[in-house]
């Protein structure tokens, strides 16, 4: 898994590439990266899953932990371009009720602006 960071309109965007799975843990996890940004005062975070091939429950755990951490610090974490499969999983687990999920990155960024 490769995670690149960029910033747009005061929103930190993490572009994730590859597979997010338990067996492929990197030195720095997604959650750790998000926490680092939160510690730097960046409270608007967007996770872009456009190039993610696979995500397992460990990966979902990373997303949820990131979301909770952001929320606890009064920030906002949103998701964009998730796969159909992951959307279905989120629906079944009712995470669509909690998480902000967008089909396109622009739509997500615009939603940050509205808030």
């Amino acid at each position: 898994m490769v995670i690149d960071k960029r910033e747009k309109n005061n929103v930190v965007i993490f572009d994730i590439e590859g597979e997010i799975r338990r067996s492929d843990i990197t030195d720095v996890t997604l959650h750790q990266l998000v926490k680092n940004e939160l510690e730097l005062g960046k409270k608007q975070i967007l996770l872009n899953f456009e190039k993610v091939d696979f995500i397992d429950s460990f990966g979902v755990g990373e997303i949820l932990a990131s979301y909770i951490s952001t929320l606890n610090l009064g920030g906002k974490l949103k998701l964009a371009r998730i796969s159909k499969k992951l959307f279905l999983i989120f629906q079944v687990t009712m995470l669509t009720k909690v998480l902000d999920i967008f089909d396109e990155e622009d739509l997500a960024l615009r939603s940050f602006l509205k808030e």
Binding site: V60, G61, L64, S83, K84, L88, I89, M94, K97
Partner: protein, 810 residues
């Protein structure tokens, strides 16, 4: 009035019911008046034959059944053409005339072979007259009535034989024995008058009001001898009866020859008089046996044992004669046993064997078996004797046979008796099968049939999914996942739930269509038939793991609190989604504890999903909330389904509710039904325990619940003592039985410890309520139940039959 007085008199000696007295008395008289002349004719037949031709020529007399066969054939044709009344009266009239003809012949001719001709006529007479009598009895009575009254009718026949024998014994010493034929003719003429009176007194079927629910019996089609033979050949049961009759006849013939030979050797001065007294003494014994023991024996031990006593006694005596072949009292003893048992228990049991045979088949079979097989067996007996003679190198003359020959004949008869006993065992088993077949078809509980043949849970899930399609995409996805996890998301169901062309409609429907595309997507293989099962299973595992994540539980805990406090704004739908989602989690998950609040939700829709989840998670703390909802008409089905899924683990808690007298019947009744739904041995035991305590008004619910367990799970063994205690209580509480439904609880309990198919076939027949159906039902129960239960139940069931005393004669 006269009928009532007559009933009072007859009821003292026989089990005659009101309305049956006149008919019973006429049949008694009819049988008396045909057996009395027969015994006169028979005594004269035996004495004339032995004096003119000697015992060694007896095999030819036995073989003369060919003539009887012709007479049987003629009788069968006449039976098809004439009414029952015409047949019976015509036969008696011809008998009177032939009696007078033989009286004239014996006086006018000294040709010794007239004895053989006379022998043949005597045989035809007894076969035709007695068969006609028993066919009439079969026409008039069902198995229970016949079983009750057969001792009385049979006694009439035996009494007639005794009277005829005594008359012969005295009269033959004072007059020419051949003049006894005039007395015989007079008695047959009296029988003619009785038959006329019997038919004159018959009400029409409509007036009698009996068997009103049944169509009148069809007029017998024209049948010949071969039709009769084919009827028997087509039924294994009738073949068995025929085989027993055949072997019985062979044995009886061998015994007859042995006894006659020993009597002839003893050198009696007046053989006609001796045979008269002998026949009368033997029949007196038979009469007492019949009157006192036959009905009681058959009532108590049934037909199967009734069939055994006759061959067993003859076997014992045959062994005695084989050892001591010239002892007169043994000869009289074996002949006496043959006659007494043949006319009493054996005759009664054999007639009862025909009861479960369909009427049309019965007439044909009886004609063939009683008139042909029975006679043919005598011929075979004669042939067996000739074989014994041949082995012993006997020369035919009018001399008596040697004791050694008698011993050899006794050994031969003992061998045949062993075969007879084996056949009786097979016949007894076949009888029960035949009675069973006469009863209604197997009874099945409709509720159990429905639950067995339908996957109700899946159907419900599909309906829920369809409803949720326009209501909530999340709920819809949850249902789809649920279906997929149960391997029920087949292509057919999927196309039903998510039509591929659903691109228009409400936002929720469009969302549903989007889900469809997800389902069709390569990476979402939720249709096992269409995708890699391993991948589908992997996705399922992922979802389960997500649900178990602490982060997930923490995040959704906050969401759930909002939903339950209605801060989410989703209202009822959100609570439904949450209730459904909780059911997918591990039973130890923190969020599961929130289900209690959803189980108390006033919305039936929310409760439905909460109850489903509770049924999956099976946590004990949800049980009281579920039980409380059993009184809610809108939610009781869901509550019940959920509790059933707890299985044995909830039986103890439910038993507490059932036993709690403070609890309302509105809860205790459904709890009994619920235990039935759980359907295990533990649930059955809990119900029986409560039945033993006397559940005050809940007996029908508990008995119904036990019956459901029996229907659904044949593996469950019900403790017999507990069921019998319940039966005793049910019988004690049973008032007058006016309808079959009154005894339904008793039958349901019987079905727990006896063959339930038999028990409920019997119940179905009781429901029909006709004389025959009730009779067959009681007969089957009589063969099935233990004596102590029979005594408490069967007399009450017999009162269920509608109508009067007897049916129309065809």
């Amino acid at each position: 009035m006269a009928e009532r007085r007559l009933h009072k008199v007859l009821a003292a000696v026989a089990k005659v019911k009101p309305g049956e007295a006149r008919l019973a008395l006429l049949l008694f008289a009819y049988f008396f008046l045909i057996t009395a002349p027969y015994n006169i004719i028979k005594s004269l037949r035996d004495a004339s034959y032995l004096e003119d031709l000697g015992p060694n020529f007896l095999p030819f007399a036995y073989a003369s059944v060919v003539v009887v066969g012709l007479a049987v054939s003629l009788h069968a044709r006449l039976q098809a053409r004439l009414s029952r009344r015409g047949l019976l009266m015509g036969t008696l009239a011809v008998s009177v005339v032939l009696d007078l003809v033989f009286w004239q012949v014996f006086h006018a001719s000294s040709w010794k072979w007239w004895s053989l001709v006379y022998w043949m006529w005597a045989n035809v007479l007894v076969v035709v007259l007695t068969t006609q009598f028993w066919i009439l009895v079969n026409d008039l009575f069902n198995p229970r009535e016949a079983k009750r009254l057969i001792g009385f009718f049979g006694s009439g026949g035996i009494l007639g034989g005794v009277a005829g024998g005594i008359l012969t014994g005295f009269a033959a010493r004072r007059m020419d024995p051949h003049d006894l034929l005039l007395i015989s003719a007079l008695l047959l003429a009296a029988a003619l008058a009785v038959v006329r009176s019997l038919f004159a007194g018959r009400p029409s079927a409509e007036a009698a009001g009996r068997r009103a629910a049944e169509p009148p019996p069809a007029a017998p089609a024209k049948v010949g001898f071969w039709d009769c033979a084919r009827s028997v050949k087509g039924s294994r049961y009738l073949i068995l009866i025929a085989a027993v009759v055949l072997v019985t006849g062979i044995v009886s013939t061998l015994i007859d020859w042995q006894s006659k030979n020993i009597i002839f050797v003893a050198g009696q001065a007046n053989l006609t008089s001796f045979f008269g007294f002998l026949n009368s003494g033997l029949l007196a014994f038979a009469f007492l046996f019949q009157l006192v023991l036959t009905s009681r024996f058959i009532d108590r031990f049934g037909i199967r044992l009734g069939l055994m006593i006759y061959p067993a006694a003859l076997l014992l005596l045959s062994v005695g004669i084989a050892a001591a072949p010239a002892v007169l009292w043994l000869a009289v003893g074996i002949k006496g046993s043959d006659k007494a048992l043949s006319y009493s228990i054996n005759q009664s049991a054999r007639e009862l064997l025909y009861i479960p045979v369909a009427p049309e088949l019965k007439y044909r079979a009886k004609i063939f078996i009683d008139m042909f097989v029975n006679r043919f067996s005598k011929a075979l007996g004669g042939l067996a004797l000739l074989i014994v003679f041949s082995i012993a190198h006997v020369r035919l003359s009018n001399a008596a046979a040697s004791p050694r020959l008698v011993t050899e004949a006794s050994i031969a008869s003992a061998a045949f008796i062993v075969v007879w006993i084996v056949l009786n065992i097979l016949l007894g088993r076949a009888y029960v099968r035949e009675v069973r077949l006469q009863l209604a078809k197997k009874w099945e509980r409709p509720d159990v049939l429905v639950s067995e043949r339908m996957d109700v849970e899946t159907a419900k899930l599909i309906v829920d999914a369809l409803e949720s399609r326009s209501q909530s995409p999340t709920l819809f996805a949850l249902h789809l996942y649920d279906l997929a996890r149960r391997k029920k998301l087949t292509p057919e169901i999927k196309s039903l739930l998510v039509p591929p062309s659903a691109t228009t409609g409400s936002p929720a429907e469009r969302s549903a269509s989007a889900i469809n595309s997800l389902l069709e997507a390569e990476e979402a293989p939720w249709t096992p038939e269409a995708a890699d099962p391993a991948l589908s299973a992997e996705m399922d595992r992922e979802i389960r793991e997500i649900l178990s994540l602490d982060s997930y539980q923490a995040l959704m805990g906050g969401y759930a609190a909002g939903v339950l406090e209605d801060r989410s704004g989703g209202g009822e739908t959100s609570r439904m989604e949450l209730a459904k989602a909780i059911g997918l989690m591990d039973r130890g998950s923190p969020l599961v504890s929130r289900l209690d609040e959803l189980l108390a939700d006033a919305s039936p829709a929310v409760f439905q999903f909460a109850a489903e989840s509770a049924g999956r998670l099976r946590r004990r703390e949800f049980v009281p909330a579920l039980v409380r909802r059993l009184t809610d008409p809108q939610s009781r089905g869901d509550a019940r389904a959920a509790l059933e899924k707890y299985g044995d683990s909830v039986v103890g808690t439910l038993s507490d509710f059932l036993a709690d007298r403070e609890e309302s019947p509105g809860i205790r009744g459904p709890v009994a039904s619920l235990l039935a739904g759980i359907g295990t041995a533990e649930a059955a035991e809990a119900l029986l325990d409560e039945l033993a305590r006397g559940p005050a008004g809940l007996e029908p619910d508990i008995v119904d619940a036990l019956d459901r367990i029996r229907s659904r799970n044949s593996e469950v063994a019900f403790p017999e003592d507990a069921v019998r205690a319940g039966l005793a209580r049910a019988l004690a509480a049973l008032g007058p039985v006016t309808a079959a439904a009154d005894v339904l609880p008793v039958f349901r309990l019987l079905g727990l410890i006896y063959n339930h198919e038999d028990v409920f076939r019997a119940y179905q027949s009781l429901l029909k309520g006709t004389e025959d159906s009730v009779g067959y039902a009681v007969e089957l129960l009589d063969q099935t139940l233990d004596p102590e239960l029979k005594g408490g139940l069967l007399p009450r069931l017999e009162s269920l039959a509608r109508g009067g005393a007897a049916q129309e004669i065809p």
